[in-house]
């Protein structure tokens, strides 16, 4: 393959204009040469003999006349065993390795292989000579931590292939040939454990896509009961700064009932990533007892890292997630924050001098967001097993106002909306998911009728609360006041969850069903008090006891005792019909 070369004719911020002679393709990667440095860049527009490339690095020092080498390949990531536990930047450079090599700072132009080349993996072939296979079907397996990592027919191969030879079981590096395939015309392809895939294209080597129906338990009561997420579904978490988006995502990444979590920290604070980086290896995965890091991949392109790579980071993340889905695993991909990614698009679009849409975001913003979330989903693989990618993205709307293009563009395509509210976070009601504004199209882990009844209590309670602000407590009827107290009770004992209590921070689906059943019973009970003060102090007492209940282990005697106490408390004031 002859290498296509070009010459820089213009530099503007992170955008370079390059004149070329031979054929290049859209989104192809080129390296701008600056002395010994090679700066990675991607073609984002072609006009005549000139292409505009966004550079994933600082462009200082580039000059008109500097050469650019085109690679003929789109921006791709390496897929293979060894991805788990890694910390990458947006271009899949392993950051800890980079630190060993370059010290404190991220020196531009340094690209390291994403997967370790010298690690030997224990390979067991499953396909045999003569089998006919298509892309995505399994050739053999490798144990990777607690998972069985499938080595598959590379996704880029089209049509069906016959296995000509397979390597014996044994130890191989990811570059060793583990099988030879021949296509229908007799050409042979050598396959290793590692393959490359362009991040902007979805991986579709599966049989069919299914409707997401099975709930993904995040162990957050507000989410699972009221605004559930399904495996293979999508959801978004918009909220103003300080409302707890990142904390909520960190909790989800810890407790969600999935096999693998891919975290894309995209344009946010480095400090928050550092917390994840330093704490995850120490934390135990509640499901397996192993370190949380063993099931995690972190893509980290914080706000001070180059903007163009920020855009790449969400795609890198979702590509890795889809790769593990191909192995029949359930993967959760978290992007924090998609607004920063949209801003990266806006910056690029501005430099290209495209006609701006709303708030100067490019006109294609919505379709880009839509096609990103569409990469989630639950699928049946070619061997009949299923796998899923669930995508959760935070949105940081300017001024906390949800009427802005990124939030609106996202709401159109997601299956659940967890809107965080400033009022709730100011009142320290965490998680600050607004129970009245948020919605979900997925099935709750709790019985639907009970959830609806609970929702109605919250709704009417809030109306009474509003009214009470005007007419005062005295002007509120006893019935309305009761409703208000009940909705406050539901809010403070069920919706609110203490993220730092070892028991309360994560509530299993089973426990949610049990607890919500009991609390629903209380909400439906007809209670009577001699005046509002006694009613209020009763509910204070009840709230406090229920919070203690939330802190007790479900199997413990304490849990049963408190439940009995609660039931007694309520039955003492219940009017018997």
């Amino acid at each position: 393959m002859t290498q296509v070369q070009g010459t820089i004719v213009g530099v503007n911020g992170n955008m370079i204009t390059v004149e070329f002679e031979d054929a290049v393709s859209m989104n192809e990667v080129g390296y701008a040469r600056l002395g010994d440095l090679r700066l990675m860049s991607e073609i984002v527009r072609i006009r005549g003999k000139r292409a505009d490339l966004q550079v994933f690095e600082d462009t200082a020092g580039l000059s008109v006349g500097d050469p650019v080498d085109f690679t003929g390949e789109m921006l791709s990531v390496e897929l293979g065993p060894g991805l788990l536990t890694q910390v990458y930047d947006g271009l899949q450079n392993p950051l800890p390795k980079l630190a060993e090599e370059c010290g404190f700072f991220l020196q531009r132009g340094t690209y390291l292989p994403a997967l370790p080349r010298d690690t030997k993996w224990i390979y067991t072939p499953t396909a045999s000579v003569g089998d006919t296979l298509t892309a995505g079907e399994t050739l053999g397996t490798v144990p990777e931590g607690m998972f069985e990592h499938r080595i598959m027919v590379p996704f880029r191969l089209r049509g069906s292939y016959t296995v000509a030879s397979v390597a014996k079981a044994g130890e191989y590096t990811i570059e060793d040939t583990i099988a030879t395939l021949t296509d229908e015309s007799g050409d042979s392809v050598e396959v290793s454990m590692m393959q490359r895939w362009p991040v902007k294209l979805p991986i579709q080597a599966y049989r069919e896509r299914l409707r997401p129906t099975e709930p993904l338990v995040t162990q957050s009561r507000t989410v699972d009961t009221f605004f559930p997420v399904a495996r293979g579904g999508t959801y978004c978490v918009p909220g103003p700064f300080g409302a707890g988006k990142t904390v909520l995502q960190q909790l989800t990444s810890r407790y969600a009932d999935v096999d693998i979590v891919v975290i894309a920290a995209c344009g946010e604070r480095a400090g928050e990533v550092v917390e994840t980086l330093r704490e995850f290896p120490e934390l135990d995965d509640p499901r397996t007892g192993k370190s949380l890091m063993d099931r995690t991949v972190i893509i980290c392109n914080t706000s001070s890292m180059p903007v163009a790579a920020r855009e790449a980071s969400v795609y890198t993340g979702v590509t890795l997630a889809s790769y593990y889905r191909q192995m029949g695993l359930n993967v959760l991909m978290l992007a924090d924050s998609t607004s920063r990614w949209a801003q990266a698009l806006r910056e690029t679009s501005g430099r290209l001098e495209e006609i701006p849409g709303e708030e100067a975001f490019p006109a294609y913003l919505e379709s880009v967001i839509a096609s990103f979330y569409e990469r989630g989903g639950v699928v049946t693989l070619k061997d009949g097993t299923t796998g899923s990618v669930t995508i959760g993205g935070t949105v940081s709307p300017a001024g906390g106002n949800f009427d802005e293009p990124v939030t609106q563009g996202t709401l159109k395509v997601v299956g659940a909306f967890h809107g965080l509210s400033r009022a709730r976070s100011d009142a320290r009601r965490y998680p600050a998911i607004d129970p009245l504004d948020s919605w979900s199209k997925y099935e709750s882990v709790v019985d639907n009728a009970a959830v609806e009844a609970g929702r109605s209590v919250l709704q009417r309670g809030s109306e009474v609360g509003q009214m009470m602000k005007v007419v005062g407590e005295e002007g509120t009827s006893q019935d309305d006041f009761m409703l208000y107290l009940k909705s406050e009770y539901l809010d403070s004992t069920y919706l609110q969850q203490n993220a730092f209590d070892p028991v309360d921070s994560a509530t299993s689906a089973e426990r949610q069903q049990h607890v919500f059943g009991v609390i629903s019973g209380f909400l439906q009970a007809d209670l009577s008090f001699k005046d509002k003060t006694t009613a209020r102090s009763f509910f204070h007492q009840l709230t406090q006891t229920t919070r203690d209940w939330n802190r007790a282990e479900m199997e413990s005697q304490e849990f049963k005792d408190i439940q009995a106490r609660l039931e007694k408390m309520v039955s003492e004031v219940t009017v018997n019909a």
């Binding site: 904390v247 344009g267 550092v274 917390e275 501005g350 320290r428 003060t533």
Partner: protein, 479 residues
């Protein structure tokens, strides 16, 4: 190599265009015309056309001005000799001291590898109770001070500079009034803190381009000190002027504005500066405190809004005091558990009672009758504002905690504070700790939202005044 060009064919705003070859992006050039010599930086290359941003402004630049390229990008001298000195935004001496030219370092360097950062763990003591007690400043934190124009944010920064326990202070002034510059200089000089300070000051009358350089220069210098193991405090004032300077340049460059005229990359630009705050794994640290004025006292204005998404909390300065509501240090949990056992409890209790006081004030202004409880709150609120919130108060953390207990003891019974009995026993002043206190305190303690052993880490924005349910202690006491 240093070819001189003589033909400027376009001048707009502070940007001049010439035709030249072999010029590197971000390279510096010297532009000389009859009115003087200024540095300029390459900001766009298109074929043989070079756009340069002239630091001293294009005013007086002639079409036949001499343009000589220097072959390097913006640099700043770095050595111990910087301490005690004052420079302009272009790193020229402002204090009649000698010019420094050795050991030049590039500004706007690459960002720190997240894998080389550590979780912050050291408190920065300032002697200001509203910071030390309620929103502790942590080494390597980046915190803005949100204030309306006219609030004393500069005196506050100056006080922090004087009192903070750090090795080096780097002060970057952007769009400062000349008076404010002199105020900083004189205050630091009188107290002797100038000898550990470097100042890069752009005053409002200086060329706007120099304003853009101030944060980068200040942070590049801060970074060098930090790499040598020093604990550096970087004070930037005012970041809104910096953003406005960016806006001005962007509009001149005919960039498409995104929100209220600010360029679309405002977030990234601010972030790349704030993210220089760091605690190096195996070296020193940079802590950034930045004043951000809010035009029209509007926190949703693009500059404070984007800043809030970047920084680790914020201080609101209102009516000359740091507001306990809304102000937040996201990192305080990392340190305030290890200071003194009562720190978190005092922090929560004082703020909750102050919130109740605010509510009572509202009731009072609406003409409601004041109950005994209200009277107590009024007494408390008044003392809290005078003895804790006032910016002139200067006491170390431990003293402030003791003072907090004293104020509580003077205004309330132990049971009314909702503090758990073990702490009451240990810390309540006047040994006459009532036996009834423990039982009633127990009854109330669990309803207190911010009870410390619940360890509410992220949730520290105290309840706003209208929310009655979040802080049930007054009702409980009455009941």
């Amino acid at each position: 190599m240093h070819k001189v060009y003589h033909r400027v064919h376009n001048i707009a705003g502070n940007v001049i265009n010439i035709r030249a070859e072999g010029v590197r992006y971000r390279e510096l050039a010297e532009v000389t015309s009859r009115t003087g010599t200024s540095l300029a930086q390459v900001i766009r290359l298109q074929d043989d056309e070079v756009s340069l941003q002239v630091f001293a402004g294009a005013r007086g630049v002639a079409t036949d001005a001499q343009v000589r390229f220097l072959g390097h990008s913006m640099q700043v001298p770095y050595s111990e000799a910087l301490l005690g000195r004052i420079f302009t935004g272009a790193a020229n001496p402002r204090d009649r001291g000698p010019e420094l030219a050795e050991n030049l370092i590039e500004i706007g360097g690459p960002s720190v590898n997240p894998a080389k950062r550590i979780i912050p763990r050291n408190m920065v003591r300032t002697g200001i109770p509203m910071i030390d007690v309620f929103n502790t400043l942590v080494e390597s934190q980046k915190l803005p001070i949100f204030a309306r124009a006219g609030e004393p944010y500069n005196p506050l920064l100056a006080r922090i500079a004087l009192q903070a326990e750090v090795d080096v202070i780097v002060l970057g002034g952007m769009g400062l009034k000349h008076d404010d510059y002199l105020y900083f200089r004189d205050t630091l000089e009188e107290s002797g803190a100038l000898s550990r300070t470097v100042m890069f000051v752009h005053t409002a009358s200086d060329p706007i381009v120099e304003c853009l350089l101030v944060p980068d220069i200040s942070l590049a210098v801060a970074e060098q000190f930090a790499l040598e193991g020093k604990r550096v405090l970087c004070l930037l004032t005012d970041m809104t002027s910096f953003a406005d300077a960016m806006k001005e340049i962007a509009i001149t460059m005919e960039q498409i504005p995104s929100n209220r005229g600010y360029p679309g990359d405002l977030y990234s630009q601010l972030a790349s500066r704030y993210e220089k705050a760091v605690d190096f794994d195996g070296a020193g640290s940079i802590t950034i405190l930045a004043a951000t004025t809010m035009p029209g006292d509007d926190v949703t204005h693009p500059v404070p809004d984007n800043t809030g998404y970047i920084t680790e909390g914020q201080f609101y300065l209102r009516d000359g005091r740091i507001e306990p509501f809304g102000s937040l240090s996201r990192l305080k949990q990392q340190v305030n558990g290890d200071t003194r056992d009562d720190h978190r409890t005092i922090m929560d209790t004082l703020v909750q009672l102050y919130a109740a006081y605010r509510e009572t004030l509202e009731k009072q202004s609406m003409g409601f009758r004041m109950s005994d409880w209200d009277e107590k709150l009024l007494k408390y609120g008044d003392r809290f504002e005078k003895e804790m919130m006032d910016l002139t108060v200067n006491i170390p953390l431990e003293g402030a905690l003791d003072l907090g207990w004293q104020i509580l003891a003077d205004c309330f019974e132990p049971m009314e504070t909702g503090i758990q009995s073990s702490l009451i026993d240990a810390f309540w002043p006047r040994s006459a700790s009532q036996s009834e206190a423990s039982s009633s305190a127990e009854a109330t303690e669990d309803k207190t939202p911010g009870k410390p052993d619940e360890g509410d880490a992220e949730e520290d924005t105290p309840a706003e005044a209208e929310d009655t349910e979040a802080k049930p202690e007054p009702e409980t006491v009455e009941a």
